[in-house]
């Protein structure tokens, strides 16, 4: 194995198997510091599943995830899965490390969701404010008795700043669900940013957006990447967006990596074209 020294994120042979279905098959990839890397593939290729493995929502059946040289997730086929396992590298990993999503977020990986998951009964501001909870220093008692006045003020200020960044400061008191679709997406990004991440994972940020909005979003992602010195790893369907902003692209189909490289390389790759357009039978 090569050194992982400058990789912000590295996946080693991540396999996710649901019963007999292999959703992600031995996916290995890496994201370098300050890169924007995209993971693309046709519907059902296993992109979101891969994301869920990184963020701790699913426990991968096999494989390891490193974050800044540090092993954060690791698993190998166990129990029933030993017999059922259909992926590769079955015996490569023996360690078990299964952190919950909140632990992953605390490490500095923040994500957004494909189907927007905002806190529905709360305002835009409150949505972002909740994300500042993980950096609290107060305990239950001091927080209840308002002895953490300074911290509370900092949290509110930080949440406001994040709303400002995504341009929603004027709508802070609107109910999250009453915002237009595009703004809900932005609010989700603001919420993810409020956790002070180093690596931002965006799950189809442009889904449901028109070309104009998608364009804006692309510029916005590049902008926040520079502003907060982030590394961005995103899943996307919109080819325009991906080609515009990504430094590198990984293409998967049926859970397997089929191509990787710079946007222009990937664009001309015959395997990718086949995967997206289907195989010509003749």
């Amino acid at each position: 194995m090569t050194s992982v020294a400058d990789h912000t994120l590295e996946l080693r042979n991540i396999t996710m198997q649901f019963g007999g279905v292999v959703a992600v098959d031995s996916l290995s990839l890496h994201v370098n510091q300050s890169e924007i890397v995209a993971l693309i593939g046709p519907n059902g290729a296993g992109k979101t599943t891969a994301f869920n493995c990184i963020t701790g929502v699913y426990k991968p059946t096999n494989g390891q995830v490193y974050y800044q040289d540090q092993l954060i997730i690791s698993n190998h086929p166990q129990g029933k899965m030993k017999a059922l396992y259909a992926g590769q590298h079955k015996d490569a990993y023996k360690e078990v490390l299964e952190p919950t999503p909140d632990r992953i977020t605390k490490l500095g990986l923040a994500r957004t969701f494909q189907n927007i998951r905002l806190f529905k009964t709360q305002t835009a501001f409150e949505n972002v404010l909740i994300a500042t909870h993980l950096h609290r220093t107060s305990n239950l008692l001091t927080a209840t008795l308002r002895l953490n006045y300074a911290e509370e003020k900092r949290m509110c200020q930080h949440a406001l700043d994040m709303l400002e960044v995504v341009g929603l400061a004027d709508l802070r008191d609107e109910l999250a669900t009453s915002l237009p679709y595009g703004m809900q997406r932005r609010l989700e990004i603001a919420r993810a940013l409020a956790t002070k991440p180093r690596l931002l994972l965006l799950d189809e940020p442009a889904a449901g957006m028109n070309p104009q909005e998608t364009d804006d979003l692309g510029r916005f992602i590049v902008d926040i990447k520079q502003r907060f010195d982030l590394t961005v790893f995103l899943i996307e369907h919109h080819m325009d967006l991906v080609m515009d902003i990504s430094d590198r692209i990984y293409v998967i189909d049926f859970g397997r990596l089929i191509a990787t490289g710079r946007p222009d390389e990937v664009q001309d790759n015959p395997d990718v074209i086949t995967a997206y357009l289907g195989v010509d039978e003749e």
Binding site: D102, T105, K106, A110, K120, T121, Q122, L140, T144
Partner: protein, 476 residues
Amino acid sequence: MKTAKIVLSLLLIIIAIALVGYTLSSQGDLRDLVMRLDPQNLSSADSRMLKARDRVLDGLAEGDRVRDLRNLDRYLEDYGPQLALDGENGLELFVYRNGPSLLAAGIALAVIGAALLVSQLDKLAKLRRPAIYLALAAVLYAGVYIVENIAGSSSMLMTVLKKGAIYALIAVSMNLLNGFTGLFSLGQAGFMLVGAYTYAIFTIATDSRAQVYQYYDGGLVQFALPTLVAIVLAGLVAAFFAFLIGLPVLRLKSDYLAIATLGFAEIIRAIFQYDGLGPITNGSNLLRKFTTFDTVLFPFAVAGVCIALIVMLIHSTYGRSFKAIRDDEVAAEAMGINLFRHKQMSFVISSFFAGVGGALLAMYQTTVQASAFKASMTYEILLIVVIGGMGSITGSVLASFLFVASSEWWLRFLDNELVIGGVQVPLLRSGFRMVVFSVVIMLMVLFYRRGIMGDKEFNLKRFLQPRVRKGGDVRG
């Protein structure tokens, strides 16, 4: 506008000081007052009256205020017309009789004045909200105290207020869990039972223990704790039970959690009646002769402090994460909120206050028996929470007073047979009240599902200024 308010607040404070001062200065000797009430020239025909007066004066020597007032009442009732009651000593008499109420009113006025003053001073802007809440609390408590003095502490109104305050605390504690954290738990009666028993066991007077624990040689515990310490202990023990039960149970989702907690409540009820634990729990016998309260202010004070703490918790960063968990567990976890720990916090805190509520309920009932803490008690509380609105503290409080008032008082007449013009009104008989009550609740849940308040809170500002026009210039 501002100057006017400052002047008004100063005026209020001055009136309050005058009222308190005057009341205190007229709380002198009742004997003196009685003597002055006498007509100047008593003939021998009035000897009976003189005797009655002497009886009053004799009684006064003991210094029992309540008895004094009763004697005086009787004296005035019998001989009132012949006494020299004029405006001046009439007022004095009124002030003497209502001294405590007037003092309470004076203090409340002073607090309102001070709060108004604070809210108008820009330098104290930070204290504005606490000041307003303090003023509201002062009005509430003074009001309750005055009503209690007028209506008497054993009147139906006071009974309803006492039980209502206790149910309000328990309903709010359940709302914290069900309405704010989204954990559907049905264990409330179990935690109340633990709280009630803990409180009762530790406050039975040492010399009554032999009598209470007559089948168990006076029981194991042979000391009594101060009331407030025992109440806190009741909460802590309930919280400890919640902590243990939460370890396995909180990993379950919605319906399963409800079933598991309901099961816990049933099991704990059986355990507390178990004969082997008799030296502590008195088996299936009553626990009695523990410290109770007689003024309505006590449950109001304890419940008020507890509810205030819960409200402060809900508005803290922890409360916000509880609401996040309720709205979307997956997103909450992705925002770095440790689901299990926060659910456990909410569960333990809710149970703590349910335990405190149980202790208060024990005091209210003056006896405790495990068999009374049935699942139906949890349903009553759940009903209050639903009627008030899941996720609304003010809703829960309002609903518990309404619920207690209707079940104990307003619908009581339905239980009594009634004969109008020789015809017995059909259906009115013992037990009919519960039928009507159930129907009302069914209608409520069918057509008014979000409850009285939904998930909103009662907002004083909106209440006082209902007609804020859009775009208009609103000046306070």
